[in-house]
């Protein structure tokens, strides 16, 4: 079994699931009905791709576990999601900013991954990319509306960007398992993705009159299982039912 590939598949799956869960928390709480629906639609796309990736992961590990086992029965330190995906929603501005920073990453990421020599990953990426375009449009438009909106909305979105910035560096920090797969030409190099990400960030920030924070210290560790205290709370919410009533179905 290729342990690096398994870790990598789990890391994208976990990022998708955790972000999907975070967006899902808005269900019934959106600022207006249409945006409530938008956030839960995007959530569903992330949960959908998490399922495809977990299914692949179960086949790679070959232990007879199911996609549900991977989502509901793993411990916090086994999760390899980006720290940014687990960040609390706080308010609509924070949610939009978090989404934009990640969408600007996932679009070039899936574009590059869709050319992988690993057919399974390439197909999942090709499918996900089409949906990420909608997400990117949604979050970019809201960045601009809020940033170039009222004084209140501008301050809130700028504040969110400042608060989230320290978690953005992790997207481009290469772990050992990623390095192995980059060397084997299975996954794309993150440098090219970084330069596209920078362009998207700069262009939308400029239209949104948001200033780009300075790159000082970046948090890391999510991709290798070291998380912020926030992940435990999401897992408690998400996993409670399966842990209390093992095997429960409806």
């Amino acid at each position: 079994m290729n342990q690096s590939l398994l870790n990598y598949v789990l890391s994208i799956a976990d990022s998708s699931l955790i972000l999907g869960q975070r967006l899902g928390e808005w269900c019934g709480h959106g600022p207006i009905l249409e945006q409530d629906i938008a956030m839960t639609n995007i959530s569903l796309d992330y949960v959908g791709r998490a399922r495809l990736l977990y299914q692949y992961a179960t086949e790679l590990e070959g232990l007879g576990r199911t996609e549900d086992d991977l989502a509901f029965l793993r411990e916090e330190m086994e999760f390899k999601n980006l720290l940014l995906t687990e960040h609390r929603n706080i308010d609509f501005g924070y949610t939009v900013a978090r989404q934009f920073l990640l969408d600007a990453y996932f679009v070039p990421f899936f574009e590059a991954l869709s050319k992988s020599i690993d057919q399974r990953l390439a197909h999942i990426a090709e499918k996900s990319l089409k949906e990420s375009h909608y997400h990117y449009r949604w979050s970019s438009e809201w960045m601009i509306r809020l940033g170039d909106g009222t004084e209140e909305s501008h301050n809130r979105i700028q504040n969110a960007v400042n608060g989230l910035w320290e978690f953005t560096g992790e997207m481009f920090i290469i772990t050992d398992y990623e390095q192995q797969l980059i060397d084997d030409h299975i996954i794309p190099n993150l440098e090219e993705i970084k330069s596209i990400w920078d362009q998207s960030i700069n262009s939308v920030f400029s239209e949104a009159t948001i200033s780009r924070p300075k790159d000082t210290w970046f948090q890391k560790g999510g991709k290798t299982g070291q998380h912020t205290e926030q992940l435990g709370f999401i897992l408690a919410d998400m996993q409670y039912l399966q842990r209390t009533y093992p095997g429960m179905e409806w």
Binding site: D45, K127, Y134
Partner: protein
């Protein structure tokens, strides 16, 4: 006064009269396709999985029919139900051996929607996808999708995300009705 739905939607009652005669036993790929054209999208019951392009191919390999399907969107909750409905209709045929295979690539596109399917969508009140109106840039898509009720193109986009993953929300500025648009994908 009660609403006369027959007057509001005369086309719906006409449609119901067109019943397809299903084969009593399955002997060919065409039989399978005809039977599967009875499986509809649970969210949009007027359109079936052949017209939607969800059914990609039926093959016969050593007496086993291989049924290839593809999801519209990765998180579409209807896919599970569609697969279940495929099974339940095929299982009514004794001795029928089949396998359902989910294919992701090439990814589903609205270009696979049949013309008949698009017409059915419009009659049902959902504006069908228009390839030339595919949204490319930010803040685009502010109109020109014809209202399925009054055909006015004086419409505006409310949100790219609608009641299901495949639809976006529009409103007609002439008849003032909100409507769903099946977005280009």
């Amino acid at each position: 006064m009660p609403i006369d739905y027959k007057k509001l939607f005369p086309q719906e009652t006409e449609e119901q009269n067109l019943k397809i005669v299903l084969p009593s036993k399955i002997s060919s790929i065409q039989d399978v396709e005809l039977i599967l054209s009875q499986v509809t999208d649970p969210e949009i019951p007027v359109i079936n999985i052949v017209e939607l392009g969800i059914l990609r191919r039926v093959k016969k390999v050593n007496d086993i029919f291989e049924i290839e399907i593809t999801p519209t969107y990765v998180g579409c909750p209807a896919m599970g139900l569609i697969e279940m409905n495929i099974k339940s209709i095929l299982d009514t045929y004794q001795g029928m051996k089949y396998k359902i295979i989910t294919k992701l690539s090439p990814p589903w596109t609205t270009a696979w929607l049949s013309e008949q399917g698009k017409l059915k969508l419009k009659k049902y009140g959902i504006a069908p996808p228009l390839e030339q109106k595919r949204i490319q840039k930010l803040f685009e898509g502010q109109g020109q999708i014809a209202c399925p009720r009054c055909n006015s193109v004086y419409t505006s986009l409310i949100s790219e995300f609608g009641s299901t993953a495949c639809k976006s929300m529009y409103k007609c500025n002439d008849c003032l009705e909100a409507f769903d648009y099946f977005k280009c994908h």
